[in-house]
Amino acid sequence: MPTGNDSGDLFRAHVSEDGGEVTVALEGELDLASVDEAKAAIRAGRERGDGAVVVDLRGLAFFGSVGLRSLVEVSQETTPSGRRLILVPNANVRRLLDIAGVSERFDIRPET
């Protein structure tokens, strides 16, 4: 199974840092083809800075159960470190989080 970028141009991840707070911006389609890349980006972000890790989901064009699972998984990994994982969802992502009943598991920053 290739471990590289299976999603072609359909997904991008970008990690940036500002004063200890790290932002991982995910854009495009988060699904089976891109989930490994998305989790790797969030884990890479977690290795940087010492403040909150903000996962910016506003640029996602698609988000389903594969994405939901990946966020729960990285959130569970992050908890023991004491670092906050903050999600910034768009309307479609927020609706899926609410329907799945997992919104309360996350720190959610309103879309601005």
């Binding site: 072609g8 699904d31 159960s65 594969v66």
Partner: protein, 149 residues
Amino acid sequence: MSVGDPHMQAGEARSIELRCGKLAPSEARRWLGWIDPYLGPIRFYDAQVMVSELVSNAVMHADLGAGDPIRLRARVEADRIRVSVCDNGRGFQPEDPPRRPPADVVGGLGLWLVDTLADRLTFDGPRGRVCFEVAREGDGAAQPGAPSS
């Protein structure tokens, strides 16, 4: 008020055969685009989630080989779209209705999500076939997660 493309006729149907692989879910979502004008934006997004979940399940859980066929069919009904996803894999034994798994358990969330979003969901588990129906917006169908004004 009902949204929808008046040029789309009940009975219009299209089908496609996808190849099993990681790109199959996104190919399924793109293929489903032809029903977008009929459903309206919120329910079309839901339909994309549902078809994506079912194709992802086929890719991950049906024991298909890379490149094996996954068949999709979508049909326009009077007030809804009916979509079926079928594969030649090992089939499955669905719970009826699918129960919501704990959020930290791997697997099972996709089918539960489809059941939650669909207006109607039917299985032929042993044959690896799942059908969902989604009503067009504005025809009085309940929309999961919609704000209750």
